[in-house]
Symmetry: C2
């Protein structure tokens, strides 16, 4: 970017889509970026920052490249919900600095949004929405829509409020466009309105928007006063975020930052592995306490990994189904779900145990050994399956995210129970099969 | 639903949101439903069916409860993309019956949509969009928007076509509302339009819509002729669907139908478990071939599950990261990614191996045994980590969905290599530690 080509740069930059602008800006080397932000308007820079994701890009660092006064102007031009997301990433001192440099009304709006917990409806909502009183006509409302269309984050719905800002209904832009100008809007106001509370979990909000195919959903306080609106583009991000969380849980590794350096990537994986290793040491201790048994029948060692592995796989399946059932909210059947899972586990255990029995009996020409391994496998699977189901359900009941019950945790835990079951069953039969 | 209360039923049903109507209708007992569809209009029933998901509800069965003629009328009132989804679930004979009962133009439209492969942009797109020629003014276009607003699936954008239906640009409704009536629309047409091809993978389309925060995206043929539009509500479903696929892959169980009977649920899990069991048998065979070693030092048996388990966990982590990297399209660095993953694996392996060395050396008071187990662990983790990374990358390269490389598959495979590494390392050191 040389000075003679400033205008070419601005023109070609502004011709890009907002998302492309954002990617281009964040991707510039720092020395070019320090030229770029001097050339670009507050407006354009605000839309650059609106289109970056705080989880993926260090927006705070980008802001700190400019003088605080400029940064504050850009934050103030951004949608309030996005500005709040950025400020939530900063140390409190810096937040205070930026807010003090913004006009009071904008600063107050953003300050309020910062106070909502992450992962709640409040933290997602935008305060730039269209709202009218109920005693208007179609043309009055259309006039207002046209006037505010550029500021509002979504123009698909206009909300109807009473004098105390209580949410009374919603009018779709589609209905406004297809009805006569002089019709009182009360006639096309839908009063069976679906809204969420500011404290609601973002995953639940996403589920509602996805089910109802909404383009946006209003957020109210406990007294039904309208606080803001969540638009579908934020919901798309939430669905992705929640899916990444569940997926990360199942693998015991956070997959959200995938372009880490090898060092950071390793640091992210090691704590979980070491924790699981210590749990695994209990299993090793348990096995070594059966040393006498292994000395008498070393063939038993051959099936340790088969039984622990298969039971772990079955437990992972049960876990994945339970976590998913909780995520989509179809876990409300309590005892029926429980018995259904117990029966499925028994069926899976018997089918797998029977296969092992046949294979081992034929391979080792030893029916009793096959029976012992098959029986141990059946019981180990039933137990692992039940653990895979119960652990996320219990974690959810006590108020945590069931996705923290990771697959590796279940498999490592089920190693312990599987080994215990295996050696006890083997002990029962040992006199019969070491002769065989 | 008694006959005297027919109107009450219709009124209360129609007061529901479309999604609630759909849930209510699908949830009715069959004998009530046979009354319900006689009472409800084609319009209402079409919107009921539009709001059901073919993956979750057997819409074909619901349609078959009515005479074919009525079913065809409802299909014809539905959005063409949804009608096509329903017809894709039917046997060809039934498809032909319904299409023959529909007016030719509607039947042709649906017939074309049926031909697109599932999981492509074509199968998601709606053909009810707003399009205009470029030589109009704002008021002409607004007039058209108002006229077609009720049929179009989305009114947020109007597409500008030339005489041969080539896609030339897009006008946002927001711009139409905020500009003077007599302005030529060419002035507010965005010609840097982002579109997708009908054959594009739905996951890629979803990524674009999510990144750009679009409310809809146009779909063209290879000659840039506009074929249809995909709306964000369909994208929300795709993101969820793709996440469920990845998640199912990691757990080796399809989690999309979570309210199965225990029998169906078991049938879904057993094939994978048995397949993995057979792979696990190879590991068992391998261990039993080291029987001599286990007889000499039965303590070796104690660490089998520790090493296989921990290596499996590390492999699962690498797998999850690789699948995610491919899913979001940041897997384009080839060799750099590969080396980065190798280094991360080595770091993870050394950290974990070192922990094991310390724990085992202290616990068993045997430094050589600790060293052997730690070294085996380090190598096993490096190998499992590499496999977890490479397998999905290779599967992706040869054109399959990397999510089919499941976590349990990786862990079972890594059991095999881990055991091989473990016993070979142990063999090297055995003379040193059985004395200790």
């Amino acid at each position: 970017i040389q000075s003679g080509q400033d205008n070419t740069f601005i023109d070609s930059f502004e011709a890009l889509h907002e998302y492309e602008m954002a990617q281009a800006y964040a991707g510039l080397p720092e020395q070019f970026r320090s030229v770029a932000w001097r050339l670009l308007s507050d407006d354009i820079l605000a839309s650059v920052f609106d289109n970056l994701d705080v989880d993926e890009v260090d927006i705070v660092a980008l802001l700190k490249e400019m003088p605080p006064r400029r940064g504050a102007r850009i934050l103030q031009e951004m949608y309030a919900d996005n500005a709040a997301d950025v400020l939530q990433e900063m140390p409190p001192r810096l937040v205070a600095t930026y807010l003090s440099l913004m006009p009071k009304s904008e600063a107050d709006e953003v300050r309020q949004l910062i106070n909502y917990d992450e992962q709640t409806a409040g933290s997602l909502m935008s305060t730039e929405y269209l709202a009218v009183e109920e005693n208007l006509h179609v043309d009055d409302v259309m006039h207002l829509v046209k006037k505010q269309a550029l500021e509002a984050e979504s123009i698909s719905y206009v909300y109807v409020l009473d004098k105390q800002e209580h949410l009374m209904g919603v009018i779709s832009l589609r209905d406004l466009l297809t009805h006569a100008d002089d019709l009182p809007v009360i006639n096309i106001t839908n009063e069976r309105i679906i809204s969420v509370k500011a404290g609601d979990d973002q995953a639940d909000v996403a589920q509602i928007v996805a089910n109802y195919n909404f383009l946006s959903i209003p957020v109210t306080d406990d007294n039904n006063r309208l606080l803001g609106v969540i638009t579908v583009d934020d919901i798309v991000d939430v669905i992705d975020e929640e899916a990444v969380e569940d997926y990360s849980g199942l693998a015991a590794v956070n997959v959200s930052q995938i372009n880490d350096t090898p060092w950071h990537s390793a640091v992210k994986r090691i704590p979980w592995l070491i924790a699981l290793l210590l749990l695994g040491m209990t299993t090793a201790t348990l096995i070594s306490s059966y040393d006498g048994l292994v000395r008498r029948a070393s063939i038993l060692a051959a099936f340790i990994s088969l039984i622990t592995g298969t039971a772990g796989n079955a437990g992972t399946q049960a876990l994945a189904l339970a976590v998913r059932r909780i995520a989509v909210g179809s876990d409300k059947n309590g005892l029926r779900d429980f018995f259904s899972e117990v029966i499925a586990g028994i069926l899976v255990g018997i089918a797998t145990g029977l296969s092992v029995f046949i294979v081992v009996a034929l391979w080792k020409q030893n029916v009793v050994l096959g029976f012992a391994v098959g029986l141990a496998m059946t019981i180990a699977i039933i137990v692992a399956n039940l653990a895979g189901y119960l652990i996320p359900v219990v974690i959810d009941k006590i108020g945590f995210d069931p996705a923290v019950a990771s697959g590796p945790f279940i498999t490592t835990l089920s190693d312990l129970t599987s080994v215990l079951i295996y050696f006890n069953v083997a002990q029962l039969f040992i006199t019969h099969f070491i002769g065989g």
